[in-house]
Symmetry: C2
Subunit: 138 residues, 2 copies
């Protein structure tokens, strides 16, 4: 059985936040949106329906926990949740906090425009909020 390895594109585009029981938690390096990506640590999975039923339920629970916390912590108007994977086939689930003042509103964030990387101070602060709020070790 193959082992799980994070796709290099996800590794290069994101900052690692830690692990939940199923998913590795990543912060996308785009400071314009609170944007967290969950990657279930299972090899060779492209679609949610390919996960075992028990894993699917854990992924859903993790997505809800992360999304609800982000909406509260970052005062979001709407949460966008999506599994696309047209470019990066490894299953990964986006949770993006949206506001009517953000650059892509009301359109989708995917494919909208080039990311604006975090500066050091904002990255440290947002990482701290997420790691504490989601009880992420590591």
């Amino acid at each position: 059985m193959d082992e799980f390895n994070l796709h290099p594109r996800l590794a290069s585009d994101c900052h690692p936040l830690g692990d939940l029981s199923l998913s590795t938690v990543l912060l996308l390096n785009d400071s314009r949106y609170p944007w967290v990506i969950l990657v279930p640590r299972r090899p060779d999975i492209r679609e949610i329906y390919q996960l075992a039923a028990a894993d699917r339920e854990i992924l859903l629970e993790e997505s809800c926990r992360v999304g609800q916390f982000m909406m509260k912590a970052f005062r979001g108007e709407k949460l966008n949740v999506g599994a696309l994977g047209n470019l990066v086939p490894q299953l990964h689930l986006h949770q993006v906090v949206r506001n009517s003042t953000d650059p892509a509103w009301p359109g989708p964030v995917w494919g909208h425009s080039t990311a604006v990387p975090y500066g050091r101070e904002m990255l440290v602060e947002r990482t701290r909020i997420l790691r504490e709020g989601l009880s992420l070790a590591g």
Copy 2:
């Protein structure tokens, strides 16, 4: 307690396919993509995490069943699943079959370009495939 009513924008943009145990199943009127929308019949819900835990699990099961069937029936390369709701706040979950030959590939379908409505023959055929494959009554 309020009752559930389908959002008028979803009603006007889609063809009804029938009901699953939790969700009303809609076919988006864009013939370029096999694109099914699930709308849980619960009032006043905007986010997946606002659903009761039992409803969340049913929604996930329905999404996986619909998505897996669509990928097989329409020979998809990748499934896109998303809950956005920036324009239509009523919770609705997109399942879109993607192919590298489709107009928006590899970008997202949301916000890409104006829908191309179904002609009668293709609508009848796609509706039949989905209603039979998903055992939808109505």
